[in-house]
Symmetry: C2
Subunit: 371 residues, 2 copies
DNA sequence: TTGAAAGCGCTAACAA
DNA sequence: TTGTTAGCGCTTTCAA
């Protein structure tokens, strides 16, 4: 009952921050009013609000996020689960996500799974412990049962291409077909009839979709790639090299190869260059993603662009609407993201077809002229 | 006085997590004992501890980080301030830092400044708001007065190459000279006398140091590069291209060029390839960093390796010792990080010197043979 | 419209 | 060795 005098706890040496009481005192109002002002509750008197803001300004106060999170049950933290931070696609995605998240008052917790179950588990645990308000699963199709942990706690998620159906889960639906069709038709228009495809790891849903889109788009125009021209890579540069070597080992090889991502394409380019083959004269290559680097390889890569900014924005918005309007009846649960071809210099006529179907065609220069 | 019955607040629909009380109840002990058990306070009875762990296991309980942070004053969050997440050097650094941080119970908050003062300010504010326990400033020498915000709050910091002197600040001291000397002497041993250098942005301390090390190492062996051979880049691929073009515009150009980072070197390689010049036959190139990509450009890049893992580990340890042993009298405040040359295929004899000083030398193949 | 006060889940001081 | 309890800084209910 009686207030026993205790020595006040000082958590870490001298690290005492200003708190809401200091502001309240300075502005001669109650802490409740300060809280309401900060949270822009409309019923606060103009005059008082002004005093509060002035005090905040003068003291350079900002609220303690942990306390806020503790009491409100919202951490303003979003988990961002990616495959591999060293794949250049992801930093670009992170950048986009971070930008929009920060602008809207969220912080992000990045988890890099490296396609490893145990790491995935650690990432999920970290996110659970930090109480993320939502999770963007940008691993492109490794949907683990592990993710049930989020679902069972009613933590919203957003997936790419897939994801368990649930009221709190949305999906970014990437229209691979659009860009891939442009790519296939671009090759066909150049005269290619022998197309190959280096896929990503086929246990990933997204990689299956890309490959299927490629095959369908070929079929649409009556093309049927040989089995030996369909090789599985792993979305790394090294994997791309290995895959291209396998492709070239076939008795006949295609005159154009589409790759499931740009790193794969860059690996393919390396192998061709090592073997003394010229791109696009001897073989055309198309990538996928349009990472920054794509423009700077030799030759600059023709590729299907999937915008990181679009992806990041859609993922963020999907999560935000679930978090902030949890009882909205009809939230969109599918967010479309499109893809489109960017033509650069890794594609041209197939060998020996530079004058075909009556059109006079200009042969490309071997070396790009220096500007 | 009287306990008024209130409707218990339910923060977010159904998101009720288990708390320490549930565990206490389940294990038939007090919450204090649960807390002590979790925090491994040695005075807990073995028997009780066992019961507590069992309860934790059975309930799949884990503590609420925000509550812990609030009461302990420690967020177990470290800020990681980098320049540009899309520069491949940084994801590799982040990966290393994240790995060691997570293993030790810390989470990281990444701030990408993009060399922009305003963004830097935002990053600092975010870190302050989230109450980071320490900050690793890996921007390589943009020390802003803004960082005073941390110092004035007694938040430990670690810098690369520099940083304001203070008891809570440590510095990673990179021995640029070691690797750069190896590079310069490697070139000299091959017969090069005309060396150029493409620096990074010279307002960065780290870039000044690299350039100075290069010049000193040249001087050591009696070499003095022409002014026209010392060009400033900006550590991007595009910047490297521009810089190399400027270098080639000089009346005479050097026979070997060292670059302040690998992206710059890769840009330089591009330009040379566009101009039809062969590396290393016409010009040798050395990079700096040894990013993953360095091995995969054409030709594979000879470069000075600065280990991201070493850097990350040193930064983490520096912060951790300040955070966890704040009153340790003699903490190391300088952590050495070394660099060393990795020889690949972008360096060779200067043109026309392939048979020199009596040694018979093998001319390199133009194309690397395919394996 | 405002203020007092009850917690959010936890740690740690103190009492037993 | 264990339990009781006062806060950590904030939001929000309730009463005024």
């Amino acid at each position: 009952m009686s207030a026993v005098k205790r020595k006040p706890r000082q958590p870490v040496a001298g690290r005492k921050r200003l708190d809401i009481r200091d502001v309240a005192h300075h502005a001669r109002v109650s802490i409740a009013t300060v809280s309401r002002t900060i949270n822009r509750v409309p019923t606060v008197d103009q005059e008082l609000a002004k005093r509060v803001w002035k005090a905040i300004e003068e003291l350079n106060y900002f609220p303690n996020t942990q306390a806020r999170a503790l009491v409100s049950g919202r951490s303003h933290l979003m988990g961002l689960l990616i495959s591999e931070i060293t794949n250049p696609f992801f930093p670009e995605l992170i950048q986009g996500f971070e930008e929009i998240a920060v602008k809207n008052g969220y912080e992000i917790l990045i988890g890099s799974t490296s396609y490893d179950l145990e790491r995935m588990d650690t990432c999920i645990r970290r996110m659970l412990e930090r109480n993320v308000d939502g999770v963007a699963v940008m691993t492109f199709g490794i949907e683990e049962p592990l993710l049930e942990e989020f679902a069972s706690r009613n933590i919203p998620m957003v997936f790419v291409d897939s994801g368990p159906p649930s009221p709190l889960v949305s999906a970014l639906v990437v229209n691979y077909r659009h860009g891939i069709r442009e790519g296939v038709q671009h090759l066909a228009a150049l005269g290619h009839r022998h197309l190959g495809f280096i896929s990503g790891p086929l246990q990933q849903r997204s990689c299956q979709l890309r490959k299927a889109a490629f095959l369908d788009c070929c079929a649409e125009i009556g093309l049927k790639p040989l089995d030996a021209w369909l090789v599985e890579g792993d979305h790394t540069l090294e994997g791309g090299m290995r895959a291209m070597e396998r492709l070239l080992a076939a008795k006949e090889h295609p005159t154009a190869v589409m790759c499931s991502n740009d790193m794969t394409a860059i690996g393919a380019l390396r192998v061709l260059s090592h073997k003394g083959m010229n791109v696009p004269e001897d073989l055309s290559i198309i990538g996928f993603d349009d990472i920054h680097l794509a423009e700077f390889v030799h030759p600059p890569l023709t590729t299907v662009r999937m915008s990181r900014t679009d992806l990041a924005r859609a993922a963020f918005e999907a999560l935000r609407s679930h978090i902030e309007k949890p009882d909205q009846p009809a939230l969109p649960s599918r967010y479309p993201v499109t893809t489109r071809l960017t033509v650069r210099q890794s594609t041209s006529y197939p060998p020996g077809v530079s004058i075909s179907n009556g059109k006079r065609t200009v042969t490309r220069k071997r070396k790009t002229a220096a500007k």
